[in-house]
Symmetry: C2
Subunit: 490 residues, 2 copies
């Protein structure tokens, strides 16, 4: 039984050394060069004292340097804890302590935290100056070994460290290629952070497929459009907000036909957005995934992108998926919890045996998200469970209300969450960002919703705001919407 | 640790039911239709009495019926022994006995053998008439379970059954896609037999990738060219003799650019052939593989098809390969035995623990083939197991023919080697020393061989000689047999 593969970047550097592994605006590296750089960094890390099996926290912005660092740590066999650069020092330190990280490697701008932290800390510039030690490199990646850890908040309370094995990343890449295919000229535009699984999985696919990555940081809608129009890339990962900006900037133009995949993740997408893409022949693949499934677990296959608009598609080939409600399998169209099984699913949460046992039962992972499948097995994600608003016994899914608001001509972005209500338990509350130069009153928007939605779903309050809270991946943070409410009205 | 996947055809029928799985000249079936047909046949096989884990020998020509049968047997969990339709009844029965097959399913033309055989035998037409029983279907394919068995002769004369697991086929398909890619319009022209791994692996890739197969039987150079010119297929598996015929027939024309892969296996290809293809822009991928590695183990990547003309390329991504000579790793350009490791490599030979131990040491499979790698790691296959004869893509082992000749009452010694043949590449040629006082003509010996051996194995020439070339240890020197041919006949 085979439970390992040759080290991915090492094998790539052997098989296709001259292919470009990664482009940035000013630089490019072949697989051979990336391999050389990773070996060099591995030697410096070894000199620092990093050893196989140790957890090393990494806090960097997307850069070729960061890519080399991740591979170098894997060459040594260290476990890479990827941290979100938007976190406060308080949150970062909490992760260091919770994980028991042995080292903290940070971009230079975080060097100032060095003295406040008990964990040995080094900036990337300091590391670069170290000499290289000889170190045995992992020539095989064992599927059961932990490659990376990412913290997610999940549905309740404190963040948990999600364990991602080499096997999780391998199978995710294989499941994806069996669905999206692999063309000789493929190049993936990465404008999502590598500390999120949406970004990291692009790097993993790159070394497993021998595929180029074009790295962009920070995301810029205009530049992204230019790169696509120039024919440099064939695929891109986005969330709705990014795609929305790109479409606004694109205007009347559309993309060249060699651009073959706009992989749209990060939560349910508003239908109007999908319809615009359909009309413009932009090949949007709606996908559903999470940190715990090492990115995509379901993606809408090309032939169904029109007829099943709004669906997240069917599971990837190695994945099984079902809907559970009240402890039983749901019927077609009946909403319930999305439950998933497959080799891309996490082994569990770091130091959290109870949370792991609760989430993974009989080999099935309980996502906490709500969805249904139609009679053909297409998945429709209604909402992430944490966001579910229950009002007078009725389930309300914010995405549905947001989609309605977004279909209003004056609305650019919309976010909905539940607020406490004496009578109904919860009621929906909406936050809206208007398009430049557009005007609409809350009364007008409410009236508009009343024409589109059952009464209990109509937001009881609507706030017009300048900006919606989003994470580094531009994903809407519904829970933080409440902070936008003026203090005297909370 | 994940050690299984969802049943491939079943998952395909769920994920992409409407895609065409297989075309023949007069018929086509979607994955959903193929799945329905497999379920139906599984029910009939269950009624017959076929049970999970039993070895079922299958003797059929390429047909959609055969494809359904293979899947149906896998749905039940039976182990499919695939038999070469060119074998004599003598050879077929030997395989049935050696394998301990519980059932023999044969195309109607072999129904006449029914009464001579102890193993319960049924023709495909008879099976079709049976009612269907309910039977539990394998919903998961376990990587360690045996999916198929194919007999190969190897060096020692008697054929051995090569065990191919579901994992072998899975990893072969995955290794191939990471090298050859996967396009939305891919369709593979299958004109090689499904009872050989070159053909069977196309069927496996089809259900794993969701890719169409265009089936052609028998192979016809003119028709193959027409199918490629029509744009119906993008890839094809061939051996040199087939490609040669296709090129002759093609004349001044060339293939459309959407035809993206001519996968050329079945032994070293003559350089002039490769050069013609280069000049005509025919994308030839030279590949090296065998029954024991579930098809390809190395393939020349597109970017090197010109600069490394004649090489079989580098290993597939999950595979490792090295050259051994005198018990040590060979240097670059130094010839030695090709040794290979990877998840596509067989677990061993059916009922042959000793042969298995000899072939697989420390997880490395000793191919018995000779080759070298250049300084960049490109493999050049010099020769198959010194004495292997490759005739029109079929492997012929001299020892097997010698054993038949030696069983003739008049023969004292026999030696067989390959001689060049314009059409087939090589054909077998035999040298025989008669027993003292015995008489036999070459015609009689040929007639005798015809009763025992498949037609392609019957020596095209037989020479009666006084003595065979042997070394001091009396070991037959097959390579020197050629010197016994009268000069005017060489």
């Amino acid at each position: 039984m085979y439970t390992s593969t040759p080290n991915w970047l090492m094998q790539r550097a052997f098989l296709t050394p001259e292919r470009i592994a990664i482009y940035s605006e000013n630089e490019q590296k072949t697989f051979a060069q990336l391999h050389e750089a990773a070996i060099k960094k591995a030697g410096k890390l070894a000199h620092l004292g990093v050893r196989k099996g140790e957890i090393v926290a990494l806090l960097m912005r997307n850069s070729i340097n960061m890519v080399e660092m991740i591979h170098a740590l894997h060459y040594i066999g260290a476990v890479v804890l990827l941290q979100n650069v938007r976190l406060t020092v308080h949150e970062l330190v909490w992760q260091l302590q919770d994980s028991g990280a042995k080292w903290w490697i940070v971009g230079d701008e975080w060097g100032v935290y060095k003295d406040e932290i008990a964990v040995p800390t080094i900036t990337t510039s300091e590391l670069e100056k170290l000499p290289q030690d000889d170190v045995p490199l992992q020539e095989q990646y064992h599927f059961d070994d932990i490659a990376t850890i990412m913290y997610t908040s999940g549905t309740t309370g404190k963040p948990k460290g999600v364990l991602q094995t080499y096997g999780n990343h391998w199978w995710s890449a294989v499941g994806s290629v069996l669905n999206l295919g692999l063309y000789e000229n493929d190049c993936w535009l990465a404008a999502v952070p590598f500390f999120h699984v949406s970004g990291l999985s692009i790097l993993m696919r790159s070394v497993i497929y021998g595929m180029s990555v074009y790295m962009m940081d920070p995301f810029d809608a205009k530049k992204a459009n230019e790169i696509i129009m120039s024919g440099k890339v064939t695929m891109m990962s986005v969330v709705s907000a990014m795609l929305q900006q790109m479409l606004s900037q694109l205007g009347e133009r559309t993309y060249p036909c060699m651009f073959r995949c706009m992989l749209l993740g990060g939560g349910p997408a508003p239908k109007p957005l999908l319809e615009v893409c359909r009309d413009k022949n932009i090949p949007v693949y709606q996908t559903y995934g999470m940190t715990e499934t090492a990115s995509q677990m379901a993606t809408l296959a090309p032939e169904y992108s029109i007829t099943k608009l709004g669906s997240a598609g069917k599971p990837l080939f190695p994945v099984q998926l079902r809907i559970e409600t009240e402890g039983r399998a749901a019927r077609s169209y009946e909403a319930g919890e999305i439950v998933v099984k497959g080799p891309n699913v996490t082994k569990g949460y770091l130091h959290r045996p109870e949370a792991t046992e609760k989430a993974i039962r009989d080999g099935w992972f309980y996502t906490g998200d709500i969805g249904y499948v139609d009679e053909e097995g297409f998945l429709y994600v209604l909402d992430r469970r944490s966001d579910l608003i229950i009002s007078g016994g009725e389930n309300i899914y914010p995405a549905e209300i947001e989609a309605v608001l977004l279909s209003h001509e004056a609305v650019e972005e919309a976010g909905v969450t539940g607020i406490a209500d004496e009578r109904w338990g919860q009621v929906p509350c909406a936050f809206v960002k208007l398009k430049n130069g557009c005007v609409a009153t809350t009364e007008q928007l409410t009236a508009f919703c009343q024409t589109q939605l059952a009464k209990y779903k109509v937001p009881k309050r609507i706030y017009i705001v300048d900006e919606l809270p989003r994470n580094a991946a531009k994903k809407l943070l519904r829970r933080e919407l409440l902070h936008l409410i003026p203090k005297d009205q909370r």
